[in-house]
Assembly symmetry: C2
Homo-oligomer: 343 residues x 2
C-alpha cells in the first residue's frame, strides 16, 4: 500500500461512485441512497479513509478547534479546570488546542494570534490578559473569546467570573467568628485580577469590623510562596489569622507554620484558602477554604460555546457561586487572644 493518506477520491474510485457521493455520505443530513452509502462505507473502511479536517476547515472557513490558553499547570485548580474543559469539548465534537502561556512568557497576544491561524471556533483564556487589539481581532473574525476570572477587561468578550466579593466576605465572617483581630492577606505577585478582588473584599469586611490587616504579596501562585509568606509574616506574633488567595499558597503557609515554626493551627491562628482543591481536604491539611465548583465553570463555558449568536450581538456574563467549606484550620475552641498570651 502506498504511503500517504487516503482521500475521498480514492474511496469513490473503489466504490465506483463520484467523489461528491463520498462527501455526502460523511455529511449528516445529506442526500445519499442507502446502497450507495453502504458501498461507500465499506470501501472507506477497507481503505482506512479519514476525512481531512484541514481541507474541511478550509472549505467551511472554520475548524472544530478551540484554543485554551493556560499556565501554571502545577496548580491543581487550573488542571482540574483544564480536565473539565477538555472533556466537555469532547462531548461537543470539538478539539482542544492547549497553549502554554508560561512557555510564551505570558505573551498572550502572540498565543492568541497563533491559535487564530487555525481558524478556531473559540478561545478560552484561563491565564494572562490579552491586549485589547487581540480582543478586537477575535471579534472581527467571529471567534468567541471566553475569559475566565480575568476581570472586566475592555472589549466585547464572554466573561465568567468567580463571585470573589462574596468569597472574601465569607472568609472575613469566619475570621471574625474566630475572634481574630490582626489578620494577614497573602497573594501572588503576578497580579491576578481574581486574587486581587477576593483579597480586597476580605480586607473591606475586616476593616469595617475594626480588625487590623497586614497585606503580603509576592512570587508566583505556588506552595513556596505560601512558605515565604509564613516566614515573613509570622515573625510578627501579633498576627492571628491569614487569608490566602489560593489553596496552594494557603497550604504552604499552613505547613510552614506547623512544621517549621512549630505553631498550632487553629489554636494560634486561623487560615483560610480559596479554590477547594483536592489537597485541601486531605486529612493532613484539613484546610478551611472557599470553593467555586469546577462544574459551574464548565456549564458556563458550554453555554458560551452553544450560543449561536455572533459575538458582535453581545457577549455573555456568568458569575460562579461560592461556598465556605469549613475544616480544621478555623473555629478553634478557645478564648480570644490566645496567641497574645504566648508572648
Amino acid at each position: 500500500m502506498k504511503s500517504g493518506f487516503i482521500t475521498a477520491a480514492d474511496v469513490a474510485r473503489e466504490a465506483g461512485v463520484s467523489r461528491s457521493a463520498v462527501s455526502r455520505t460523511f455529511t449528516p443530513g445529506a442526500s445519499v441512497s442507502r446502497d450507495v452509502r453502504e458501498r461507500i462505507l465499506r470501501a472507506a473502511e477497507k481503505l482506512g479513509y479519514r476525512v481531512n479536517r484541514l481541507a474541511q476547515g478550509l472549505q467551511m472557513a472554520q475548524s472544530n478547534l478551540v484554543g485554551v490558553v493556560a499556565s501554571n499547570l502545577t496548580s491543581p485548580f487550573n488542571t482540574a479546570l483544564l480536565d473539565g474543559i477538555s472533556a466537555a469539548l469532547f462531548t461537543r465534537g470539538l478539539q482542544c488546542m492547549l497553549l502554554n502561556a508560561e512557555a510564551a512568557r505570558d505573551d498572550i497576544g502572540t498565543l492568541v494570534n497563533q491559535v487564530l491561524e487555525y481558524r478556531v471556533r473559540a478561545v478560552v483564556i484561563l491565564s494572562g490578559a490579552p491586549p485589547e487589539e487581540i480582543i478586537e481581532a477575535c471579534l472581527r473574525n467571529d471567534v468567541r473569546l471566553i475569559l475566565i476570572n480575568r476581570g472586566t477587561l475592555p472589549g466585547n468578550a464572554d466573561k465568567i467570573d468567580t463571585n470573589d466579593l462574596t468569597g472574601g466576605q465569607l472568609a472575613a465572617e469566619r475570621m471574625l467568628l474566630d475572634g481574630r483581630r490582626h489578620v494577614a492577606t497573602v497573594r501572588s505577585g503576578n497580579g491576578s485580577v481574581s486574587q486581587k478582588r477576593r483579597t480586597e473584599s476580605f480586607v473591606a469586611r475586616m476593616s469595617e469590623a475594626g480588625a487590623r490587616v497586614t497585606p503580603w504579596m509576592s512570587g508566583p501562585n505556588n506552595f513556596e510562596t505560601g512558605r515565604e509568606a509564613a516566614r515573613a509574616l509570622l515573625a510578627d506574633s501579633s498576627i492571628d489569622g491569614a487569608f490566602c488567595a489560593t489553596d496552594l499558597i494557603a497550604l504552604g503557609f499552613l505547613d510552614t507554620a506547623r512544621f517549621e515554626l512549630g505553631m498550632d493551627v487553629p489554636q494560634h491562628f486561623s487560615i483560610i484558602g480559596f479554590d477547594n482543591i483536592p489537597e485541601a481536604a486531605w486529612p493532613s491539611h484539613g484546610l478551611t477554604t472557599v470553593s467555586h465548583p469546577i462544574e459551574a465553570f464548565i456549564d458556563a463555558i458550554l453555554s458560551c460555546l452553544d450560543d449561536e449568536r455572533q459575538l458582535s450581538e453581545g457577549a455573555l456574563n456568568f458569575t460562579i457561586p461560592v461556598e465556605l467549606i469549613e475544616r480544621e484550620t478555623t473555629g478553634a475552641r478557645t478564648r480570644k487572644h490566645t496567641s497574645k498570651a504566648a508572648l
Copy 2:
C-alpha cells in the same frame, strides 16, 4: 471592515504585488527582494493578515499539530508531564492538541483516529493502550507514535519508559535496610503497565531477601485508593511497610495511617511512593519516593520529534533513569522489629 479573515490575495492587492510574493515573504528561506518584503509586511500588518494554517497544512500535507492523549489530569505527575510537553512543543513551533482519554471512555483508537484527521505530525500517548491497527495506521501515514510508559506494545513506535526495574529494587533495598519483613504493595486496578513493572520488581527483590509480601490492587490512581488500601491492609498489624506504585496513592495511605488509624510513620512502618510529585516534598508529608525526572521525559520526546527518519526505518527507545529520594517515611532510628514488639 468586512467580516472574515484576510487572505494573502488581499495583502497582495494592497501591496501591489502578486500573491506568490506574499506567500514567499512568510516562507523562511524563500527569495524575495528587500523592498517588496517590506511593502508586504507593512500591508499585512495594516490589514491584520494571518496565515491560514488549515490551507497551509492542506498544501503541505502536514500540520504543525501534535496530539497528546492524556487522562487522570488530577494526578500531579501527569499534569507536570503535560505542562512540560506543551512548553516543549511551543519551542519547536508546534501546537498541542489535548485529547482527554477519560472523556472518551479510554477508547484510545477513536481518539487517535480523530487526531489523525488533522494530519498531525505525531501523537504522544500518556495514557491507555492504542489497539494495534491504530499503531499500523499511524505508521502507514508517517505519523510518529510516542508511547510513554506503555510497556512493550507490539508494532513499530517510539517508546519511552521509566526504569521501573531499578526503581522497584531501590525501594526494596530501602525497605530491607529498615528491617521490614512483611510489606504490602499497593497499586491501582486499571492495569497500568508501568505500575505493574515497578511493583513486580519490588516483590522479586523482597522475596529474594526472604520477606513476606501482601499485594493489593484496586480502584483508580488517586488519593482515595491509597486510603482504602490503608484501611484494608492495616487491619493486619503484622505489616510493617508499604510500597505504593504512585505518590498519590502513597499519600492517601500515609495520611490515613497517621490521622485515621493513629499510627506513627516511620516508627510503625515504612512507606515508599513513586513519581516524586511536589506534594511528596511538602513538610506535612515528607514522603520517601522514587523519582523519574520530567526533564528526562521531555528530552526524550523532543529527540523523537526531531528525528528526521521515517517511522518505518525504525523507532527510538529511551529509558528514564530513577533515583531514590529519602525523606521522613523511611529510615526510622530504631531497632528492628519494633512493630512486632507493639503487638
